[in-house]
Subunit: 307 residues, 2 copies
């Protein structure tokens, strides 16, 4: 059994590779919901959707979010009404949010709805939110806290971040099955997602970090930082803004308590020794998943990397 | 000043005619919200939307609801997900519900949102919900109460109705400006809408029926029943199910307390005396609004009909 801790695009690509290497039914993806939002009354789970769309082969590879070949009738009309359109929702994508919101209103949990959506999209792996409780990542920018998507999408993460907080995390519980899956996993994969705002919220759910740390030898992380930069998103800038080194060594320090093995890119081979000095194993390979083949090759390394 | 009490399609067509006859800025449409619903987390106001779409010239004339030339991408996708699709929402129409739901979540009232939508669609008349408070029409069918749209759309109103109840009406208040508009109106028009489930909920909001009744001479109603049938919808069957005569006389009896003048169709000319015996004036004209011209001619009669 393999459990993956997941954010959005990077996790989705690695999972698609792992899906080729491991029996899909043996995989559990535990997904960040700290960047979920309610907009237009709809419950939107960006990371869950990116993962399901990617694994279903329907993701838009250009954007990293949404559905390929999407149409935008609703958003175009909403624009003429002067509505809120900075968070773009395609017409087919909207169906996912309508479905989720209606099922939640009917009393289903987010895990149940996520399992339904994964199943309807033909996935065989288990996709589970980190928690069925509401945890919301909030980002302090210019002295003011804003919801994560305000920072990430509306402000295009082009601002200095002063602090991050996971609202609701303290009283949240891991979704059903998450602790059991982590306890029984042969391999726990920390995907190449943002350490602070994708992996961070998952670890903030009480019980998860402690359990993962107790299984440190089974935990393999892929660095989201390659050659001092993030392949996508604000990970590099966020690390710097919040006082961390923007390098695989910075990632290693953040993960030292609970990750046994860190996989870094060949571009960072010279930092292998520095990572090992932090106290973890370090493997060097090609981590840039610019094609499904490269993602599969990385997945093979990850699946063979358990300490 | 003219105030119209409105349900959906029949009201929308008459209002479009009145809009040609009277200065639009002098018209206030008070619209039934008893058949509003929350679905997929979205606040949907079917009668308000039918009126705004019709007056904006964008309504689908075939269905009586929704937007002409609509696309259905979201609903098609929702169907593949096994979601709730019995209440069809077109892609452009969805923008209206997203806008309304988001604005309500931001703290706007339903009147404010309705005014915004009417303005964005270029309307000059005032469109106002009967109340900003939640009133929900519930229909008893086979011993069980169901929400109005379950009866109207999902069951296609093809079932016997045992009772109607306006949940929340007792504690609701008329929307801002409604009582003032009714008190000051030269003419109060009761549109050819369903007496029981379109006009009924409006009158159930405390204060409205009393005020309208006190202005009975100024109230002109158009019968929604023509030759013992409804032109659209379940008005005829509902009247019969609930023990009312399915005729203009049945309508006259329902409206006797508060309507001074009832306009009936030429097809019902022989019942004029019977209507007058109920205690109201009765005018006979062509009430079938099968074209904008016929709607305008009816509007002329209505606007000249004040007792």
């Amino acid at each position: 059994m393999l459990v993956a801790l997941c954010g959005g695009v990077g996790a989705a690509r690695l999972l698609a590779g792992v899906d080729d290497v491991v029996e899909p039914a043996a995989i559990t993806a535990v997904v960040n919901t700290g960047d979920d939002l309610t907009l237009h009354g709809l419950h939107i789970s960006p990371d869950i959707d990116t993962i399901i769309y990617t694994l279903a082969g329907m993701a838009n590879p250009q954007t990293g979010w949404g559905i390929e070949g999407e149409t935008w009738k609703t958003m175009e009309e909403l624009k003429t009404l002067g509505g809120t359109t900075w968070f773009q929702l395609g017409d087919r994508d909207l169906a996912t949010h309508l479905y989720r919101t209606q099922r939640l209103a009917e009393g289903a949990t987010l895990s149940q709805v996520t399992a339904e959506l994964a199943s309807k999209r033909g996935l065989e792996m288990t996709v589970v939110p980190m928690s069925d409780d509401q945890v919301r990542t909030r980002v302090r920018v210019s002295g003011q806290e804003v919801p994560f998507q305000d920072y990430f999408v509306r402000l295009r993460h082009d601002v200095a971040v002063e602090a991050i907080r996971f609202d609701g995390a303290e009283t949240s519980r891991p979704a059903p099955g998450v602790l059991e899956a982590l306890a029984g996993a042969e391999l726990i994969v920390c995907c190449p997602s943002n350490p602070l705002v994708s992996i961070g919220p998952i670890l903030a759910v009480p019980g998860i970090k402690e359990l993962v740390a107790s299984r440190r030898d089974a935990v393999v992380a892929v660095s989201p930082i390659v050659a001092g930069a993030a392949l996508k998103g604000p990970a590099a800038r966020l690390l710097g803004d919040l006082g961390h080194e923007i390098s695989v060594v910075g990632v290693a320090r953040l993960y030292a308590d609970w990750v046994g093995t860190l996989i870094i890119d060949e571009a960072d081979a010279s930092l292998r020794g520095a990572v090992e000095q932090v106290g973890m194993r370090c493997l060097v390979t090609d981590t840039v998943m610019s094609s499904p083949e490269r993602a599969r090759r990385l997945a093979e390394v990850v699946c063979g990397a358990r300490r």
